[in-house]
Amino acid sequence: MTNAFEAVGLVKRFGETTALAGVDLAAPEGTVLGVLGPNGAGKTTAVRILATLLRADAGRATVGGLDVVRDAAKVRRIIGLTGQYASVDEDLTGMQNLLLIGRLLDLSRREARATAARLLDRFDLTDAADRPAKTYSGGMRRRLDLAASLVGHPAVIYLDEPTTGLDPAKREDVWNLVRGLASDGVTILLTTQYLEEADALADEISVIDHGRVIAHGTPAQLKHRVGGRTLEVRPSEQADLPVVSQILTDVTGRAPESPSRGVLSVPVDSDLAMTATVRRLDDADIAVTELALRLPSLDEVFFALTGRHTDTDHATLDSHATLDSKEDAA
């Protein structure tokens, strides 16, 4: 499978600050790459380079086999960009915003209008089509921004923190839209600070920190790499707890703990632990209301990879805040 986009050894400095220190990113056609990292890790800089908005100091990047510097104009015909903040024109209506993009993408007046109407419908904005975008809620603005990036039927879409600042319900809306795009065969680069977001949407994840990719793999691989799977069992009858506890001890060689009432939990190493447990429960004729092999959260993955939690290291966040303002200026 060929890569829809590929970045190799990207380096970008803003004055004294190194935003990217040699980043490799790639996604096969039709997949979703999650780029996960804390604020100021260099995610936006990488996206801006891949979107032809910024030139790397070193390294190269291609989209659809086209160089983002030499063939920038061609690259712009196959990409769509949704920025960190919704970059819609607030004074224009939703319809006018999309019409303008359509006209700039060389659609005829009629095509532009039809495309705009179709996208507004798809993103549930038809009722608000003729209202200025400044009257939109945050979620509507994101949807309009996303719609704007789709006018040209891009093959590759960059979504730079598309759900930052949205409440959980709106976030779920955007996730569904992203899933829909992915099932249409669009290749997506999604940057996020939310670990569960990358887990929910991405085929592969590149974890980025201080301008470097510190890990790459499928969500499951990343979780595996860190280990720490646990088996949880909740028998239907509380009375069965001692028997279940004995079974788990036999299978895993460890004594289970009870994280909450009526639940037993034990760390497992072997892929066979789950099957063996099911067989033994069946033999003992024990019914369960819950039986799960839990993977560690990506938050734990990040901690294991960097030795830091993603949201607790205030000193680092502060130093990145200055980096962000430099990215703004550039």
Partner: protein
């Protein structure tokens, strides 16, 4: 959610019609005259924004009227003793003042677009880098024209009359327009240099006040103290006002017109390259 429900439909359309036509990594060839079409599309955007934003609409419609009322009825009697007479003197000046003030908006608008990320969107599209700039300038011309029409209509309603002829009056408007467009490069430059859109306005007024009020706009030059006369006579806006007034109500025009055009050329020669360089660096 309906938005999600519509996805299968979109896929079915593909399966029925052209498979993978929507998802194509091969870019299409650009159509000719792209720069013109894109600039016009962006000019359309500027014009829509003039209609949509009350402040901008006020700038081009109400502001010139307020200035006429203010100067003619409030100061006019005191300055010349006759409001009607002063109207003939001051209306061409207010035309110049209006377009010059309007010319400061472009820097603020561009700065706002960059700040809000709208420029990122434009730049991720296959359009020339200069298209947003050209579009903004074209939009400005429309704004200038609207304010000129509003001003002249109001002036006529309260008794202003062109003393020369229609052609000369049009030439006067064209001259003011050309000068304003050349001056707008200063605004573009400021807009590219400052961080906040509001600062453009601040800087703009700092430039505009001495240029407009410190000229032959509102009072006869010989009533001014010597040091102020010295400034007024070198102020390019004085030449422009003299030229526009001459073309509308009579008086010597050859020299001030020539001086105005020379100043226009000079403004472009100095500020356009600086502004374009700053624009390229910022966008």
């Amino acid at each position: 959610m309906t938005a999600v429900d519509s996805f299968p439909a979109a896929r079915a359309e593909d399966a029925a019609g052209q498979p993978s036509a929507r998802i194509n990594l091969q870019p299409q060839a650009a159509r000719p005259f792209a720069l013109v079409r894109h600039s016009l599309a962006l000019a359309w955007r500027s014009i829509v924004k003039i209609r949509r934003t009350p402040e901008q609409l006020m700038d081009v419609t109400l502001q010139p009227i307020i200035f006429v009322v203010l100067f003619v009825y409030l100061f006019g009697g005191a300055i010349t003793g006759s409001q009607h007479e002063y109207l003939q003197f001051v209306l061409p000046s207010i035309l110049v003042q209006t377009v010059l003030f309007s010319s400061m908006a472009i820097g603020m608008n561009l700065n706002t677009d960059i700040k809000r990320g709208v420029f990122d969107r434009f730049r991720s599209l296959p359009i020339a880098r200069s298209a947003p700039l050209i579009g903004a300038v074209l939009g400005d011309i429309v704004r200038f024209l609207v304010s000129i029409v509003v001003l002249m209509a109001f002036g006529y309603a309260i008794g202003f009359r062109v003393q020369t002829n229609a052609l000369q009056a049009l030439a006067a408007c064209a001259l003011a327009l050309v000068f304003a467009m050349c001056l707008s490069w200063v605004s573009v430059l400021i807009g590219m240099m400052v961080r906040e859109p509001g600062s453009v306005q601040g800087f703009g007024f700092l430039v505009m006040f001495p240029l407009t009020f410190g000229s032959s706009m509102f009072v006869p030059v010989d009533t001014l103290p010597g040091w102020l006369q010295a400034w007024v006579t070198v102020n390019p806006v004085t030449h422009l006002v003299d030229a526009v007034r001459g073309l509308m109500v009579g008086g010597p025009v050859a020299t001030p017109v020539l001086q105005s055009l020379m100043w226009s050329a000079l403004l472009v020669a100095v500020f356009a390259p600086l502004a374009v360089r700053a624009y390229r660096r910022r966008t």
